[in-house]
């Protein structure tokens, strides 16, 4: 089954990004496809390549980048939300791409299920 995922909150402040990541990992393990993860609202902050969490904590951004690389997952950051919050090509982490809201709608059309993680 093809899943589309929406993440509405940034890393660390809320659990939304953690839950979304663990959901994606489990979906892949169960043999499903993750069609796209769309980062909206403060969710765009998950794409900052400048984050440096403490050594003893998880690295949320790097974890997404790795998942994208290993499983060819499409991580899309909403351009309008990203501009509002200061995420641009110059601070974008590997594996993410910036695009329009149409990518969210397309995910809704193409995916069998949409699951939203937020606050």
């Amino acid at each position: 089954m093809k899943f589309g995922i929406v993440v509405n909150e940034g890393p660390y402040q809320h659990q939304a990004s953690d839950s979304a990541y663990l959901f994606c990992k489990a979906a892949l393990e169960n043999g499903h496809e993750v069609f796209r993860v769309f980062f909206y609202h403060d969710g765009v902050n998950n794409a900052s390549r400048l984050t440096e969490p403490p050594q003893d904590d998880r690295n949320i951004v790097a974890r997404w980048s790795k998942l994208a690389e290993e499983h060819k997952i499409d991580l899309v950051v909403c351009v309008a939300a990203a501009l509002r919050r200061g995420i641009k090509d110059e601070n974008l982490a590997p594996g993410f791409r910036i695009s329009g809201l149409g990518q969210l709608v397309e995910a809704g059309i193409q995916a069998d299920r949409m699951v939203t993680f937020g606050d």
């Binding site: 929406v6 509405n8 909206y40 609202h41 309008a80 939300a81 329009g100 809201l101 149409g102 969210l104 709608v105 397309e106 809704g108 059309i109 949409m114 939203t116 937020g118």
Partner: protein, 124 residues
């Protein structure tokens, strides 16, 4: 933009008040794009989401953009399925006359049934 077979029912569930958080505003942006993809779009307003439609919003004092006129513009995009939950309106001392657009007011059960019939439910 999409073929006949690719029309899905998208419902946008609005449960948050405007201005305290950005969700209402950024949700509207998705609504407009979804309509541009020729999908079957509806909006549900319940809980504090009903406040999004309150007439007379004046945001000069908080120095923020007043986005409430966008709700009036939805008709121009052929978005006319706006559902408002009766119980949420009543709890907040509001009536249909307080709202800045024409909506369909319905009871909680009817709204819940409509939600169940959607292909995609988005809430922010």
């Amino acid at each position: 933009m999409s073929e006949e077979g690719n029309i899905k029912k998208f419902m946008f569930v609005n449960r948050k008040a405007p201005y305290g958080t950005i969700y209402a505003l950024e949700s509207l942006e998705v609504v407009l794009i979804t309509a541009a993809f020729d999908q079957d779009v509806s909006l549900a307003f319940l809980d504090d989401g009903v406040y999004q439609l309150k007439k007379g919003q004046q945001t000069k004092g908080i120095e923020t953009k007043n986005f409430s006129p966008t709700y009036r513009a939805l008709e121009g995009y052929d978005i006319d399925k706006l559902y408002v939950e009766q119980e949420s309106l009543e709890a907040r001392g509001l009536t249909e006359d307080d709202l800045l657009v024409d909506v369909t007011v319905m009871g909680r059960k009817e709204l819940g049934k409509l939600m169940g019939q959607q292909d995609v439910v988005l809430s922010f």
